[in-house]
Symmetry: C2
Subunit: 418 residues, 2 copies
């Protein structure tokens, strides 16, 4: 198989399908989503046995327990895929929406219409349910998709692809609107990210290695998420009980997510009031603490934080703590060591809350709320294809709108320019 030629063919077909998808009616797109859900319901056994094949090879190849877990399509996960498709069908269709339509002094009327991006390439790792999530969001937003999953989930992905194709066909949409790459050859990724004539944007979902590689080599715009080094700053005027609740929730609600707090910053004037109680609660939860010198003066039992800790995304029950003097030092720390993902202040002070919101350069900035809220569903986007730490195009949780663009529409009555 000539991988380059194969990918170009996928690209050409996707480009063609994208023209039809751009004009597809909302009702037809929704029907396709519901038909896909039905096809998955009906194909449970086929899906399970394809997944079994992947799991067996994975075990034979010595994949670790965490990988095997991500790979597995349990009945509950199949339920979630079906539910997800039905939920995306209920979301409002962003495409064709016209905003800001105003008359201009020349007499023309100018507004903006929301349009699909065109063809979206999604590159992801082991979890086969991403195939359904990504396909459904691209379809609803009027785009064509080329999906490239991990080689370890190839059989599961092909089985899911068949259900997606059945749904598209039954709704009268082109089956090439969602194409799952059939080869596990790595050259397919290299080709996918370097054909701007056929692919408008790449969304890599997976580990940092994958995302860095894709960003470095892509000749197509990339919507990406790198680190989530999130902070909570407990201000001198914080309500202590809110501060303790938020600091605990932001760290312990889930350890492996990108919006989990990795560094706690505490104003020196309240450190003695909050840190001992918090340290006890973290200890009970099994969180390892690493502190700066001033933190360790209050909590001598914990480890010393090194310079490296301030810029580490643990994704684990580990927390670094720094005591500092005032909000300006906290903002400097966040802008220097953070990853511009999600940062929160706990304060009752009006002026400081306004300044923190304005001056912290992160995709989500919060007052008196847990960083764990940084999520497309919590924000009301209805769905999420990822969280962008870029500034261009899409920032923060990316829902359907992040997969669209806008064009200008101009209405006249024979108007010419003077």
């Amino acid at each position: 198989m000539n991988v380059e030629a194969y990918m170009i063919e996928l690209g050409q077909r996707a480009r063609e399908a994208s023209r039809l998808m751009a004009r597809a009616e909302t009702g037809i797109k929704n029907r396709a989503l519901l038909y896909m859900a039905e096809a998955i319901e009906a194909g449970r056994d086929t899906l399970a046995s394809a997944n079994q094949q992947d799991l067996e090879s994975a075990r034979a190849n010595g994949l670790d327990a965490a990988m095997l877990d991500r790979l597995e399509l349990t009945p509950a996960r199949i339920d979630t895929m079906v539910e997800g498709l039905r939920q995306v069908a209920t979301l409002a269709d962003p495409i064709g929406g016209i905003t800001d339509m105003n008359y201009r002094p020349s007499g023309i009327q100018v507004g903006k219409m929301r349009v699909p991006l065109g063809v979206i390439g999604i590159i992801y790792e082991s979890r086969p349910n991403v195939t359904v999530e990504a396909a459904s969001l691209c379809l609803k937003s009027g785009n064509a998709a080329i999906l490239r999953g991990g080689s370890e989930s190839i059989h599961s992905n092909q089985a899911i692809a068949a259900c997606i194709a059945a749904g598209l066909k039954r709704a009268g949409l082109p089956q090439t609107a969602v194409q799952v790459v059939e080869t596990t050859d790595r050259a397919a990724v290299g080709q996918l990210i370097t054909m701007p004539e056929y692919v408008d944007v790449i969304v890599p979902r997976g580990g940092k290695g994958l995302i860095e590689r894709v960003s470095r080599d892509a000749r197509v715009p990339v919507i990406k998420h790198l680190d989530g080094i999130c902070h909570v700053f407990i201000d001198s005027e914080a309500d202590i009980s809110k501060a303790i609740n938020i600091a605990l929730n932001a760290k312990t609600h889930r350890y492996g997510t990108c919006n989990t707090m990795e560094t706690l910053l505490v104003d020196s004037s309240v450190a003695a009031k909050v840190l001992p109680e918090l340290a006890g609660a973290y200890e009970q939860a099994g969180v390892e603490l690493r502190g700066c010198e001033r933190t360790r003066a209050l909590l001598p039992q914990i480890l010393a934080a090194t310079q490296e800790d301030w810029s580490t995304e643990y994704l684990a029950p580990i927390l670094s703590i720094r005591v500092l003097d005032g909000m300006d030092e906290a903002i400097s720390h966040i802008n220097q060591y953070g990853s511009h993902h999600t940062d929160a202040i706990v304060t009752e002070n009006y002026t400081k809350s306004r300044r923190f919101l304005r001056e912290v350069d992160s995709s989500s900035v919060m007052v008196n709320a847990s960083t764990r809220f940084a999520d497309g569903f919590e924000y009301g986007l209805g769905a999420e294809i990822g969280i962008s730490t870029d500034k261009i195009h899409a920032r923060g949780p990316v829902g359907l709108e992040g997969l669209t663009s806008q064009k200008y529409v101009v209405l006249g009555d024979g108007h010419i320019r003077q």
Copy 2:
């Protein structure tokens, strides 16, 4: 001089300045713009003599008349720069604007705040007035700018840079918020577009060669404009007098602009009614016509269009004309040969107008209006840094908003995630 080290230093200073600019008050930014205008007023003589130096070297180097014209800072052009600065000062400040602030079922309030992109690199050719335009738009949108003008205008740009720096200083803003690259070494461009740690977006303004080179080599997102191959389609149900007015205006109002029509598409059922009259008017205006076979059956005196004509941006008094059957053929032609810039239909038919608006994949789509309206000022953006033919981030005329991004702001009262 070590160009790489020099550019990195500019980048670091710009990054630092961008933090201060992001929080600069609207009033202070406006004052800086007005002070710059005063400095240019007061520095007319210095500007003129620096420009004289550039003009002399340009003549000695044998630059052509068009280049010399673009390079010259006439008193009228200096007036325009001064006026431009005052006008940007009157525009609304986009930064800090909060939209879509809503309560969520969890009790948190979520909205979006408009923020600067950070550091913007602008690469442009001979026209020194771009230095002022670009600086004023970056400043007003809270960004820091690194400006790299053409080597032929280096003295003019330095003189303008001094006025900009004086205005920034007098307003109490960092002078490093706008830096004009002082070396004419071409390696400076290569460095500028490959340091994502210091530069957030590149805007190349100039010929196609420059833009293609920058796009190919950049490791930073690029907001760019390639071709403007714009179409007017005269539908079977067009009002003939509107059609003739628009077709003439779209071609003859100005020849060298990107929103000028390059190909006229005419439905076969009205071709005999409009083409002879139009051809006479074009002839009077000195426009060379090149037609398809069916066009030449009606206008035997004109040249035959070749396949290449359909995808050529003439930027000159030349027009290609094609007769075809119905709107579907017109849309196919536009999506195949156009550059997704600006395309218009002339029709009185309601259903066709709606379909054309939805199905033509261009940054501006128009009904019964001249393509020449595709312009930031005509659209009410108040200013324009360029017209983007990309889909990602900014599409169509790019004003202040195109130089910004949005971050999420979340307000709570001690809320934690359940």
